[in-house]
Amino acid sequence: MRQIAYDRASSVDDALRAGAQPAAAFLAGGTSLVDLMKLEVLNPARVVDVTRLDLSRIDPSTEGIRLGATATNAAVAAHPEVKRRFPVLSEALLSGASPQLRNMATVAGNLMQRTRCAYYRDLATRCNKREPASGCDALQGWTRMHAILGGSEHCIAAHPSDMCVALAALGATIHVRGPRGERDIPFADFHLLPGDHPEREFALDPGELVTSVFVPATPAAARSRYVKVRDRLSYAFALASCAACLAIEGGRIADARIALGGVGTKPWRSPEAERALAGQSPSPEAFHRAADLALRDARTRRDNAFKVELAKRTIVRALALVAEGA
């Protein structure tokens, strides 16, 4: 790890001042940033510790729930209102990382976590995300863990988060503060597709700090599940995962939300699949149709063609579990 200065922010304003200094990075749980600093993939000259700020509260209201930026993954997953009104979020969090890491990792840190693409993490290889315009060794490399949706000719790195898949399905909003004031960013706009600039990953302006995430309460949110398929039973990144939320009225699907993990270059919500389910009665046929639509634009590489069928089955299984629970 290169040399750093450590700043402990005493207020959000103090954090924004410190974060405006050259090569500064905000630091919360450290499970992603410290790891990447050790590998010298990320090299901030200064880390601004935001964990002592009053940003860890979890505030339920009738409209939804506001998750403080530094609330830990463990605290959010265990919160009774999250479990009752947003089960998909609790399940997604509990399917990610390990208990130790969930005790450290935070909401905002999870939003900001970087890809686990092996080429991104290895300084001996070329990576457009790590070193802009240097090339991508993943394209012709070992692609079992890579994305099949949302990739470009410059990057096919999969987004690693489980929490973000649930938040994408739930239609969350990210609240940020920066040098020019506060604003809300819709979840779908927060993570950027790699396109021609894989190094640009977030819709944040320089110096902006995530302060909370708001999750709206809906009937579909309360009837939701997360299904994750991976190479071992626990403590592994997704090969494919699905967050599914269904509101069913009079035997028909009134509202469907579907998002995928492990297969997209960002948390992958599928409006096509959602539209196909609206107004249908919940049935295996309808679920299969939705799954086909969600993967219609998949582009596979040498080692990850299996993910198309796996993702479809994961979607069908998640939808069936939600429908069974109705």
């Binding site: 510790d49 390990s98 130790q100």
Partner: protein, 197 residues
Amino acid sequence: MPDHERGDGLTRRELLVSGAATVALACAGAPARREGAPPQKPGEPMDIVLVVNDERRALRIDPRSTLLDVLRENLGLTGTKKGCDMGQCGACTVLLDGMRIDSCLALAAQYDGRSITTIEGLAKGDALHPVQEAFLQEDAFQCGYCTPGQILSCIGFLREGGGASDAEIREGMSGNLCRCGAYPNIVAAVRGVRGRI
């Protein structure tokens, strides 16, 4: 040099530990960084206090030090193991205010003033902690390298109110890898000590 060959009655480990303790004492009087003080420069040492196994330890550290390295290198508490050093094996598990974390991904600077429990802090004199007893009783290790992390993780799991079924124990202990594959006996140890701490 083999431990038994030293003429001064100190083992190599004791010598290393006492050396580290001297360093820790020497910087105990250093002033803490003040609020509103000019920003620290990269690499500038900083002073922190950790309460480790109920003992207050004042330390001067490089700001990039991990909690794991501070425990092992500055405090000589080598019971906490470095396995993967990237949050994937759990050998470095310690308790932070009673909650299990991976100390390899924790910057020590962030934990200034906080309470850390390591494997060295569990026994009361010659009386082992019940989880240590359970691991002995069930033969829940082979080489032993992952064992301190497994034991601390087990204490954290039980404090979190972890479930009683073998499946819940396996999931709850999934952050600790054992290269020797002692998992069946580890699960038995956790099952056996449940409700006894």
